[in-house]
Amino acid sequence: MAQEKTLLAMCRHAPYGHTIAREGLEAVLACAAMDQVPEVLFINDGVLQLLEQNPKTIGEKNLRRNLQALPMFGVETLHVCRRSLEERGISLDNIDVPGAALALVDNPGPYIAGFDQVLSF
């Protein structure tokens, strides 16, 4: 049997400045619903998606709430770039996601190179 291709979704953007963050999440959920569960890496401004947020004030749906569904869709570990967190002064207890394990990535380069396909959002 052919080995399944490994897939990484890289989330690089803050949640509300642009629709790309939501598009990325929807792509991940769609992949997972089709039994192609990707690994997910939050890097650069993408780590900001993990902060508690209350976007009712700007009439948007809560992206972090949607992210919390990832473990239900089979994405049980969220990979997070350590340097991106540190640059933004975010500590691990700011981004705890119930039901998901957080895995810090120290060297994103070799981590990314280990996948067959990378989607970038």
Binding site: I43, G109, A113, F115, S120
Partner: protein, 93 residues
């Protein structure tokens, strides 16, 4: 080995910087569209020691002369770069 493709000017956004901080040994970088503005001037110093390619038609179109440290390529070479590397990561925003 990853092929990183950047399309954003290094002066308008963080895509090139973000890409370089996720660069592994042996990876290659291709500058296309507005990222060709990184192919001359001071940005070159950040690219030292890496395999860097620049899409020549995009540079010519923008009046940018590609630094000799960077390999100018055409679209056919772009295709072969894509077949030689895996995965391919776009840094378009």
């Amino acid at each position: 080995m990853t092929l990183h493709i950047v399309s954003q000017s290094p002066f308008s956004g963080s895509a090139l910087k973000d890409c370089l901080s996720a660069f592994a040994d042996g990876d290659a970088l291709l500058l296309i569209e507005d990222a060709v503005y990184a192919a001359k001037g001071q940005t070159i110093t950040q690219l030292k020691g890496k395999s860097v390619y620049c899409l020549e038609p995009d540079a010519v179109a923008r009046g940018i002369s590609i630094d000799p440290a960077i390999e100018a390529i055409d679209e056919t070479r772009w295709v072969s770069l894509c077949t030689e590397h895996n995965p391919i990561v776009s840094w378009f925003r």
